[in-house]
Amino acid sequence: MANILIDDKPVEAQEGTTILLAAEQAGIPIPHLCFHRAFTPEGSCRMCLVEIEGFPKLELACSTQVKEGMKIWTKSERVVEARKGVLEFLLAEHPLDCPICDKAGECKLQDYYEEYGHFESQFKEYKEKKEKKLGIGKNLILDRERCILCTRCIRFLREITKTQELGMSNRGLHSEIDIYEKEMVDNHYSGNLAEICPVGAITDTDFRFKTRSWFLKKGDSICPLCSRGCNISIEYHPGFPRIPIKRRVYRITSRENPEVNSHWICDLGRYTYSYLDEDRLEDIISNNSNKGVKIDWENALQFLVRKIKKLYYMKKTSRIFLIFHSSLTNEELFLVNKIFREDLKLEKIFMVDSNEGEGDDFLLSSERSSNRKGAQVMGIDSKLINLEEIANKTDILIIFGNYLLDHFSPGEIKTALDKIETTILFTSWKSELDTLVDLVLPTALVAEKRGSLTNIDGRVQYFLPVLEPVGASLPEWEILVRLAKELKMNFTYYRQFKSPDKIFEKLEREIPFFSQKKND
């Protein structure tokens, strides 16, 4: 540990750390543009210059290591003047097209001008004209006039993905970020470039001109699209109360977690957010007597309970067939196991997930369900192989998720389902299955519920709801608790589960794996 003074405040800093990081830890932010804690310092923007006792020049906070007894000033007049000078330079050759720039509102150049600027520019010359919309990747557009040449994008591709699609060409004021010939940025993580760009130079075609960043609300969640469980922020417009415009998710951004995804997320997680809003099932649909009748939860659950109880009293629960998926939360998997295997003693419990996808050796896992590890830990991960065989001798089929469509053709599913008296589907999206079953019940998504997921490395991650569930949909844990209470088999046990936290408390007590995982 090194004892240093930053702005006359005593700070104890890790030996070998930089001034910028030590100051940040002590709650003293030092402005920076090119520095990003995931990369080696570049020292080119010159925003982080600070005054150090005994040094004739201003020194870089981003690359200078702390030494015992160092005295540092981050807001002295000399430092502030230098920062203003750097900002004046940057803004002199900047197009200042904030009104049409997608980065406006979250642009570091804007922020620092607010903080240090508010000065009249002395720049009276002609600004350089440069390429305003150069496609550099499938979702990336580069505006070279806005670019401040911090080289974060180059360093990301050099140090993180190691694909090196971007470089710098030309010299001096004419330096520009460039691709090599026609080789576009093409990797699973290209979307991060727009996110780490401190200004509006690299923008995302997926977000370009769609909304202003300050209209968006932001909430923390976990990406459920593969078993990595990257930490994400969901940025959405909540909708307008008086006019019929519904909430809409505009983008997914990464949230730092050094243990899971560092600062990054993959393009699958970033761009596949339409599943949150599009084709969502909003109503409970009964196809029982007439096709497509909307009913309420009370009636739907009563219907299911009646059917199950009938078989239960006849001691024929072996004729109930359950299909679940491993994108359910730990709490929900626990309830599935409790209700169907332990209470009702079902024999036919199978897992049907979406197909495996392309993976890589960084974040994206080929296992696309978010809680496979959780299902494994609970010992309920037997996969369904033959639908039709099991459909024989079945009276009730309960399906969670519409992942059957990934493995069987609608024809095959119809043939199997026709043999079963009662078929019930819990799903979040409309699909071809809706008309093949007797009852369709809408469920909430990870972004809309509270709970925990166990990622591929066995890390248990908790999350809170960011969005309201659409329409009548409910989280599966809530549906399962209500079902269990209605079944009245173990009413006092299920009555205590007023929230997923209560379920997790039980989970910790009953499954040793979870009691060891007290992660955040």
């Binding site: 570049e42 010159r46 750097v86 330079f89 940057l90 010359e125």
Partner: protein
């Protein structure tokens, strides 16, 4: 006549050829150093000689060698900086074209001293003929066994590779030179780490100027004491002054450090051209702050020039006469640095081009009085705030020109405006 270290035999015909060079005591220093001296003795001798770097910064060469860690398993490299890009400087090209074997001798001794088996000469791209001459000299040295495996049966190996630059001023900056040599874009690196510990290909590296290395053989042969006496106590040896501009006899002059600028211009370079009067002198390459005509009685050594708020730099003296408008000088300086800024760091990239744009506007007759203050302010915003010395190299001469010739610039600006009104 003063004693010379490097240029004494430049007048000999075909001195660049091995047989002529050998007839005039060539490679005696290599034989002495490799056969009779230990590396530590060589380093001591060079340290005692107070040989300061001739590239511009003036860092003592022996001390620089001493920074190279000897206990790392990595290979060590020597890079000879022959990128001679500083405007007004042309001394290294004379050394390399007239006396290439002296440089090779210096490289062999330096490499033996520091334990280097691979040396590079990074030569300015425009010096194509000189690069060929160096290649020729190197192959002669291989033939005679001064290079290659087991030099003079001492067990020391050394290879020299010539690498031609592609014409960027920035690649004369030592870390940008390393990047360029590694095949990357010539961008300066952050220091620390310094090249002595992490340099070329992340290995310990010595980087010296051509003239610095060319001084080594004489130090070995004649001793540090002799070398020191040539110059000043803290600043040993001679300097090759490259005089250009409005003098009768422009060219290179090897003179002891501490020779007065007045003597160089009037005694050695023959004084001003007929009908020309001295206006200003740039004493150490274009990056050095300008001196006015009444400041030339100064001694030409590192410390005296620092005291006069200028620098010895590459010892390239540019003589400017009274018929040259100072705005033309400023225009040339501003254009050069804005063209050669590598673009890596903000103040240099935008600052130099901003100043260039203002100067261009002034030249076009659209200047205003406040532009001159603005140039000074911008130069101040560059000075000391850039990643490498290029920013300072641009800001210092610009500040000094504006500071010392403000009246002329102001009258130029207002004069042009008056012309327009008429």
């Amino acid at each position: 006549m003063e004693e010379k270290v490097i240029t004494q035999n430049f007048h000999l015909k075909n001195y660049f050829k091995m047989d002529v060079y050998l007839k005039h005591d060539g490679y005696q220093a290599v034989k002495k150093a490799l056969k009779k001296m230990k590396p530590e003795q060589i380093m001591d001798e060079v340290k005692k000689a107070n040989l300061r770097g001739r590239g511009g910064a003036g860092f003592p060469a022996g001390v620089k060698w001493g920074f190279v860690p000897q206990d790392v398993p990595k290979p060590k490299y020597l890079c000879v900086n022959a990128d001679e890009g500083e405007p007004g400087t042309f001394k290294d090209r004379y050394i390399m074209s007239h006396n290439p074997h002296l440089l090779i001798e210096g490289i062999i001794i330096t490499s033996f001293c520091v334990g280097i088996r691979q040396a590079y000469i990074y030569i300015r791209g425009e010096y194509e003929a000189i690069a060929q001459r160096l290649e020729q000299a190197i192959s002669e040295a291989y033939e005679k066994g001064f290079l290659g495996k087991n030099i003079l049966d001492t067990g020391h190996d050394l290879d020299i590779i010539i690498h031609r630059g592609a014409g960027a001023y920035i690649c004369g900056e030592e870390t940008a030179l390393l990047e360029s040599l590694e095949g990357k874009r010539g961008h300066p690196r952050l220091k620390p780490p310094f090249p002595a510990s992490i340099g070329l290909f992340n290995c310990p590296t010595v980087i010296n100027n051509v003239e610095t290395i060319s001084n080594i053989p004489a130090i070995i042969l004649k001793g540090a004491e002799w070398f020191c006496k040539l110059g000043l106590p803290k600043d040993g040896g001679t300097r090759i002054f490259g005089v250009s501009g409005m003098v009768k006899k422009p060219g290179i002059y090897e003179l002891p450090l501490g020779t007065s600028l007045k003597d160089i211009i009037y005694k050695h370079a023959g004084g001003m051209k007929p009908g020309k009067k001295l206006k200003a002198v740039v004493p150490g390459g274009m990056s050095a702050p300008i001196l006015k005509a009444d400041e030339i009685s100064i001694k030409m050594d590192f410390d005296s020039l620092v005291n006069a708020h200028s620098m010895l730099g590459s010892a390239a003296i540019i003589v400017i006469d009274k018929d040259t408008p100072i705005i033309d000088v400023l225009k040339a300086v501003a254009k050069f640095y804005s063209h050669e800024s590598c673009g890596q760091c903000t103040p240099c990239r935008i600052g130099t081009s901003w100043i260039n744009k203002i100067v261009k506007r002034i030249v076009e007759g659209k200047g205003k009085k406040e532009d001159i203050n603005n140039i000074e302010r911008l130069a101040d915003n560059i000075l000391g705030k850039t990643l490498c010395p290029l920013g300072d190299a641009a800001a210092m001469p610009i500040s000094s020109i504006v500071g010392k010739f403000r009246e002329e610039l102001e009258s130029y600006v207002s004069g042009k405006q008056n012309d327009k009104k008429m």
